[in-house]
């Protein structure tokens, strides 16, 4: 069973059609890489997949437990990293060790007691990824996950995605950077300038 399925989906934003009759299915262990120029609708596709936007026509089905990494980390700036992540882990009903494991996976263990507002852009991005990793959701929807990350962190992200897929998860990544996701189905959108 596919974790995400888009059938003949047409999406319009602000009176402009971003893409028409797009179909895609991401199976367990699979991945999709959404690419395209700025403003092509990569983020809108991710939000559509997350159910935050409705399509003009077509149908979207997705796994019951979905984790979204949007533009911002959605973590409270005044809390320590660990407590901010624990809030979402509690809502997600994640395992007790999930937050610690996610912090280690993204090399954030030493920053666990630092308030979020003190973190740099790249560290905050990694914190957002840690929230996704700790959620225990099968389907990950990542919007520009590599933004602000250095080379080491990008390698970490690629490893994290590979590990999640190896465990039977699925990932949809929207990026304009050359992120390496092995065997991902390419979804180019907005190729032509309108």
């Amino acid at each position: 069973m596919s974790l995400l399925a888009l059938e003949d989906v047409t999406l319009a934003r602000g009176g402009r059609v971003l893409f028409e009759r797009l179909s895609l299915a991401v199976e367990a262990g699979g991945a999709a890489l959404v690419t395209g120029p700025n403003g092509a609708g990569k983020s809108s596709l991710i939000r559509l997949a997350a159910g935050l936007l409705g399509p003009v026509s077509g149908a979207v089905r997705r796994a019951e437990r979905t984790a979204l990494l949007g533009e911002s980390a959605a973590l409270d700036p005044e809390l320590t990293l660990e407590r901010a992540l624990a809030f979402w882990a509690r809502l997600d009903g994640a395992e007790p060790d999930a937050v610690t494991d996610a912090l280690d996976a993204l090399a954030l263990g030493s920053l666990a007691q630092v308030p979020l507002r003190m973190l740099s852009t790249g560290q905050r991005r990694r914190a957002g990824l840690a929230r996704v990793a700790a959620s225990g959701a099968a389907l990950w929807l990542l919007d520009e996950p590599a933004n602000g990350l250095d080379a080491d962190a990008v390698a970490m992200l690629e490893g994290l995605i590979a590990a999640h897929r190896a465990q039977g998860g699925a990932v949809v990544v929207a990026t304009h950077l050359g992120l390496r996701v092995d065997g991902a189905q390419p979804i180019p959108i907005g190729g032509q300038v309108c």
Partner: protein, 211 residues
């Protein structure tokens, strides 16, 4: 749900949020003796109404902090992805806001009563009215916060949206000081209507805002 309520209530008190509201409330109450003169008998007569007007004005202060930061940080999106109804989120926010708003305000009303020379019986009626009316004010504040989130000059618009809708609470709240039971019942009815209806308006506004 409980986690969200606790988080929002904590954020309501954090960063001097509740303290600011209370200070503003007391400041407005103090303005009246300056404006109409230190005539104790006159102050006693208008004092209950002054406390209510100050409470409604103070309710306006936290409006911008209630929904807009969460919309901006993507917290509302995250809750929506998890299948939460946004009306439910608004209801949780209303309860959390009430917890951070009403107790400090009701405590400050005691101080205000001292400043305005209000007798104990009047203070008791004011406090009872506030207890019944503040849930309505909290619901209205959350709905207004959701409506104006992301607008420029949000606080000015918030006042225009919220104050007219708060007028019934003000009328019946002050009416209860002299009028007694009937006004209290009407106050409760208005407050209940706001608590029941405003979360749906707030949920719809959040959905429209995140589109």
């Amino acid at each position: 749900m409980l986690s969200l309520i606790l988080r929002d209530a904590r954020r309501g008190y954090a960063g001097g949020g509740a303290g600011l509201t209370v200070s503003f409330f007391l400041l407005v109450t103090v303005l009246f003796p300056f404006a109409i003169g230190p005539d104790a008998a006159l102050l006693t007569r208008v004092g209950g109404g002054v406390v209510w007007a100050a409470a409604v004005l103070a309710a306006l202060l936290p409006v911008e902090r209630l929904v807009a930061p969460d919309m901006e940080a993507g917290v509302i999106d995250q809750l929506a992805v998890r299948g939460w109804s946004l009306a439910g989120v608004a209801a949780a926010k209303t309860l959390a806001h009430w917890l951070a708003f009403a107790p400090p305000l009701m405590a400050a009303a005691v101080v205000a009563a001292g400043l305005l020379n209000l007798p104990g019986a009047v203070l008791l009626r004011v406090e009872l009215g506030l207890l019944i009316g503040t849930p309505g004010l909290a619901a209205l504040a959350v709905a207004t916060g959701a409506l104006v989130a992301g607008l420029r000059g949000a606080s000015a618009v918030a006042g225009l949206v919220m104050l007219p809708l708060a007028v019934p609470l003000l009328i019946f709240g002050t009416g209860a000081i002299t009028g007694g039971g009937a006004a209290l019942k009407l106050l409760a009815a208005v407050s209940l209507l706001l608590v029941a209806g405003a979360p749906f308006a707030a949920g719809a506004a959040m959905r429209a805002g995140s589109d």
